[in-house]
Amino acid sequence: MIDNLPFIAVAALIIIGLYAVLFRRNLIKIVIGIALIESGVNLFLVTLGYRAGSIAPIYTSSPGGIMSYPVPQALTLTSIVIGVAVLALMLSLIIHIYRHYGSLDVRKLGGEDQ
């Protein structure tokens, strides 16, 4: 059970994030939902690289012993960097949307086929 805790956290983060994206109307909350999904996926990646009782994979002045996998950490880092760019882009779009629509309600956007 305790070993699976990170995976439960991953599932919880992704489900909460999806809930926010699906059922919240505020654009900022949708973005927060996406950030939550992203954290979930990142946590999943990092968890995959962990080995029981391992130390951080730093070669310099290492005390010895088994190390956890460095590759998933590099992947997570890349994913975080991309996440920063995406979040910044989304938030700046929201600023523009607020200027045009005067509202942050997701239902106000679009509806061009109605």
């Binding site: 951080a56 730093i58 070669y59 310099t60 002045s61 290492s62 880092l77 960097v81 920063v84 910044a88 938030l91 700046s92 600023i95 607020y98 200027r99």
Partner: protein, 156 residues
């Protein structure tokens, strides 16, 4: 955006150099310890954002323009890709670490995991380039957002 109170400004001014040093340290030691261009750049950028929040975007804009920041950003990316291209010229393959095991700066090979700054080949240089790009990029994002909200306040 308007500046904040004198206390905030003073504390921000005092902590600013420490944040800078810390961020630059993270960039510089990217090939030895956790960290690197992005992480250190984010730290430095957050230090600049601290100044931005404390002094207000008007004051910052008298010091640096968003236009120049994008130039720095391009420069950082250009240096990065240039180093990768030099890999073709000297090592035959894109991204080759051609500086390792030479007498160039950062050219040594570390012995037994000892922490030696003078190692890593092109990696520290790439970290610097990425750091430059991230500092300029993140700062530009926050600055533009600050200006955008400022315009909103004025029009409202």
């Amino acid at each position: 955006m308007k500046g904040m109170s004198k206390i905030v400004k003073t504390i921000a001014n005092i902590s600013f150099p420490f944040i800078m040093i810390y961020g630059l340290y993270i960039i510089m030691h990217g090939h030895l310890t956790p960290g690197g261009g992005f992480q250190g750049g984010a730290v430095v950028a957050s230090g600049i954002v601290l100044i931005l929040v404390a002094h207000g975007s008007d004051w910052i804009q008298t010091k640096i323009k968003e236009h120049d920041l994008s130039l720095f950003e391009s420069l950082g990316a250009f240096c990065f890709i240039l180093l990768a291209f030099l890999g073709i010229a000297f090592g035959g393959v894109f991204f080759t670490n051609f500086m390792v095991n030479t007498n160039l700066p950062f050219g040594q090979i570390p012995i037994d995991g000892a922490a030696n700054l003078n190692t890593g080949g092109t990696i520290p240089l790439m970290n610097l380039a990425v750091g430059l790009k991230v500092i300029a990029g993140l700062f530009a994002i926050v600055l533009v957002m600050a200006i955008a909200t400022l315009k909103k306040e004025e029009s409202a």
